[in-house]
Symmetry: D2
Subunit: 370 residues, 4 copies
């Protein structure tokens, strides 16, 4: 039933493509945290459409209005609520449900679930627009993590067949992540970025779309964060990441490649480095037994090509119960991956702050992150 998530930090998302507003309620955020609203807006701008040739030209006024929980830029400790008004709510030519469900969209299963009363126009509650309040929540959590020495950052690992350089799983630095967040197209290699933009341009010319992979790193986590079995770092991150529309796969460290490796090749042996213990390699992506090892947490999320394409597609007319052709109008991103980078960072930041606070509840004071 729910669109809410988390244990210590709970995020509840609301809204539909054509409702009056979309938004989020975030409870459990500690009191007394300064929130830089401009930095929140800058983070959300990375998700906003209309930034370049590779994105949709629709305009959205995605500035969140803070309703509660932050006073004079400081968290009060009670729930933070924010909303983003929908400019195009309640059109006069109101059609609740389309007879011809869009392939690989939520239209058909949502109709089966909720019946004709459900408002699926523009994706309804399943719209990618719901990632805007997710990014708001993530921006708040990211600032609180940063104050505790934890940095979260991501880049476009691939678009179609074009790949960026991967993160160095041992040596990746906070500076690298910080520099990435300043870029208009979030890649390590400028060359790879140009080829990705070309790939996106070609898909657009073909009235088509293209998928991609986002790689994310979290630095500064102490060892031992996470809970056993079903509440490990991997479980919680995956549970959040699959909440971003179009994500169809999640892997940690060597991930699917690990399945083809030998143990002697994959195992991350330890080494004494001055007074501290660290791993020599990081095939585990900073996680063993579901708990952080103290190495960078590294994961990747695979995005399918957006199902909204300009080409004619095969579907069915549910009213007439016969096959039909469908042309989806409007303008759509040929590739959602560039705009999804902050969404991945947001989901990760929410989960990691949640786990850090849970870690604090039982751990000794000296291992707290403050």
């Amino acid at each position: 039933m729910s669109s809410d998530f988390g244990k210590m930090i709970r995020v509840s998302l609301f809204g539909e493509s054509h409702s009056a507003a979309i938004g989020a309620v975030i409870s459990g955020v500690p009191a007394g945290e300064y929130i830089d609203i401009e930095a929140v807006d800058a983070f959300m701008a990375r998700r906003a459409p209309g930034q370049g040739a590779h994105t949709t030209s629709r305009r959205e006024a995605d500035r969140p209005v803070i309703l509660s929980g932050i006073a004079d830029s400081v968290t009060t400790g009670t729930p933070i609520a924010a909303m983003i008004e929908n400019g195009d709510a309640r059109p006069s030519d109101y059609v609740r449900f389309s007879d011809t469900p869009r392939p690989s969209h939520a239209d058909y299963p949502a109709l089966m679930k909720y019946g004709a009363a459900h408002d699926i126009r523009g994706g309804g509650h399943f719209s990618g627009r719901l990632t805007a309040p997710l990014c708001f929540a993530g921006a708040v959590c990211k600032q609180i993590l940063a104050r505790r020495g934890i940095t979260v950052g991501a880049h476009i690992a691939s678009v179609g067949a074009v790949r960026d350089e991967p993160f160095d799983p041992v040596g990746i630095s906070a500076e690298t992540l910080s520099a990435l967040s300043e870029k208009s197209f979030t890649v390590l290699s400028g060359k790879a970025g140009e080829r990705m933009l070309e790939e996106i341009r070609l898909a657009k010319e073909d009235g088509d779309s293209v998928g991609g992979v986002i790689e994310c790193a979290a630095l500064g986590l102490p060892p031992g964060v996470g809970e056993p079995i079903f509440d490990g770092v991997e479980n919680r991150l995956a549970a959040a990441l699959f909440g971003i529309p179009a994500v169809k796969g999640v892997e940690f460290g060597a991930g699917f490649k690990a399945a083809a490796m030998r143990g002697s090749e994959h195992n991350d042996g330890y080494v004494c480095d001055g007074g501290t213990v660290r791993a020599r390699t990081n095939n585990g992506g900073g996680i063993a037994g579901g708990l952080t090892t103290g190495m960078p947490v590294i994961f990747r999320a695979a995005f399918k090509p957006t199902p909204s394409i300009a080409r004619e597609q095969r579907t069915v007319n549910l009213r007439e119960k016969k096959n039909a052709a469908l042309i989806i109008g409007g303008r759509h991103d040929p590739c959602v991956v560039p705009r999804a980078v902050p969404c991945v960072e947001a989901a990760a930041a929410i989960v990691l702050l949640d786990l850090i606070l849970e870690h604090h509840s039982s751990c000794k004071c000296e291992s707290r992150v403050e």
Copy 2:
């Protein structure tokens, strides 16, 4: 903090490698369900060690003792508890914590989390042995799903570089899944199976281990099962699957391959098939917008090579704070993937029964699965 999971069906796992017993409490199972205990035992035997040359030769008496919730082979509606006694609990040469953490095991992060009081011997609560009560819970849920026309089955998709034939994502049948569950080595292609066994034998000869991939299918789910955003079928399945030790990646349908596809190639168009609607292809793995489409649900889990290998490895001596060599004694599976097949089925069965019951809570009677 928790090792428990689920919403309508809650599974709470307990136990450590060397505690008196391991087990599970499963609440929320409907009353009046006949449970075939022999079938439960047969399912759990698929996970048990000592079945062939490719598994460990240790013996475990993994027969669960049912403590409550099932009377005369019928569920009472109140919590089902089962335990498996540990034959080798409380050894006289009791060493709670090893100075030399095993690479890529939970040893080091668990020590950082719980302190020296934690009993990590044999993996403690992070041991693969905890998948035995998981399989018990899954066996119960699987029988209840089967009575509602829902079949869950898996095969070894790959070991190292050797691949089995993939499931046909559109045409996979319950008969195929049923036949697979009878096999001692769970593959579609006998040839591929022989080559996998050879791969495992080679790893063993080298004192090494090897990873693999398990592919799982669930048939018979009606369209519309799942909840929006954070409680979609993918979120919930992934959250459970990463609870199986060694899982490092999870993907649905075309998964990571979808990231390299065009939308026109990936989209699953609909077709009228007699009176019913179905998709022509199934790149989405039976899920769109987090909800089931009515097509087979298909997913894969990547397993890293087991970190317990016979070869000498590099680690640190935490007491002396210096580098050290480590040789892990005892006998270990060179490949956990064959025994992990029922674990994947179990995790899937628990999640799907949980989602079906949640679906029932709000849906109209006619779309109930009974």
Copy 3:
């Protein structure tokens, strides 16, 4: 950390006395339910201040703005969000925290919990104003329950020492509850009502306040609703009711009086009444073993006198660390009980719809409430 509640129906409340808005997100409400917005407004008006001599003369514009989840007066199945704007948000003479905590208010413990960053003015998140969005959520749930034949209604059982007639725990009818909801002062006995109003007037004259008891009934629940041990009807109702500010006690059926009774006097024997089974008496308040018996569910909530009184009170100056006198300015209800009646109904309606939906998830179709 949380201000959210429930399992199938989740209610998340947000807002502070002086934030931009207060509101609620309600997820899990079934799709396709018609919501009569005028009836929602009428229900909320019963809670609104300024209705008579016995309430505060402050004006609040408590009409909720629906942000999502209801389109054309019908639920979409996805989260319902509503907000109520605070007219007097962000005053220029901004003082976040008072040096002199009000006795028996949340001021002092909230300061200890959240630090000086917390915005406690007007009660902050602990303000009685947060019951407005609670009533919104309750109004929605109440309409859905009514369509399933379940009626929830309450009356003022006492103000100070003045008592109304109690509900007849066996014979109470839906008509009685319906008639009560139309009254401006919610009592069964007009005489008792007049004496209560006099009690309130006297307290006001004295610059004082007075407490009271609200009695609530829920009719039409089938037998067997509720979950064992910690999720019984009593547990869940009590957990919600103590969320209404000033509630200090909750009892079911004979309640505290039962403690002085003999079993032979208290036990509710069964009788065959035509084809159906019912209890001869209802000392259990319609609940046995945490489950509904099919008899009216009856409970009472005790409200302390509102701590906001005009008289001088003893407190401390936290900054100067010395004793101090305090006079609370502004206008305050001398008795919150009359306005709390719909709050009690709202909390009950949310919990009962939650339990009914959970009941549906596992019960057989024939016992569903539809």
Copy 4:
């Protein structure tokens, strides 16, 4: 569906009167806590039957077997499981369901909920015997709280019309609570105790039962513990306390008496006492706005007379659908209140440790309880 409870500390109870065992899984208990097993046994002995003339003469071997989570008397940080074997499980004269439901027991609603498959003999999962594992969990939590300076203790406030002296809500000391726990009949006033025993003896002679009230105090809690609205100290304690069979009312501080008070009489003004702030009175029972004030937490739970009485009662024969007489055989406590005292302490200890750990997750280090 569930018999589990809590957020940071989760307690999952399992078992039925006639299942192989009953027990508990407790997750979230911090690692490295020494648990005095003899003290656990002594605590549980206070609940065990057969202690005197006022209790049943049945014998139960209620010693818990620890299955996991405690090694060498120290918590490992992972789930603690314990079971108590049922001596009289699986009788040969197996009758699952009685045609004549016992008045004011769970028999009838449980049959309506679970159908005839449910095993209600002896109360099934609704039996008072399930309070044995609750007491085990409470005994563990109580020791951990005591190490942090928090003491929980209770006494019999009344049996029938006979009352003990009440706790002094301001001056109650840990020594008083400790002395109470040593007594075989848990009252402050020996005289009142004698009259209560006489009251119980009289009920027994009449083939009847009698109810009572238990008053509980928790000392040493810092101010600010608890979470807003639905997760306040009162909400959480009440939600747990109603899980003890026969509890029909819960009140905090002045409770129902507060409803008849004026604000000027009820308000707990503050005073500077040396360097610290405390309240002059404690009508709020140590709680304001759902948060602890630093004063003793005081609450009372009302117990109905046990419905198992020797006298003939009126019920129905469900098979023959006609009225019937019922005589309940076996021996039963004429008053469960004396044995319920540790149950109330146990429920309180679990909830308070849960809240303390949640408090730790967000609060500053200096206000942690360690």
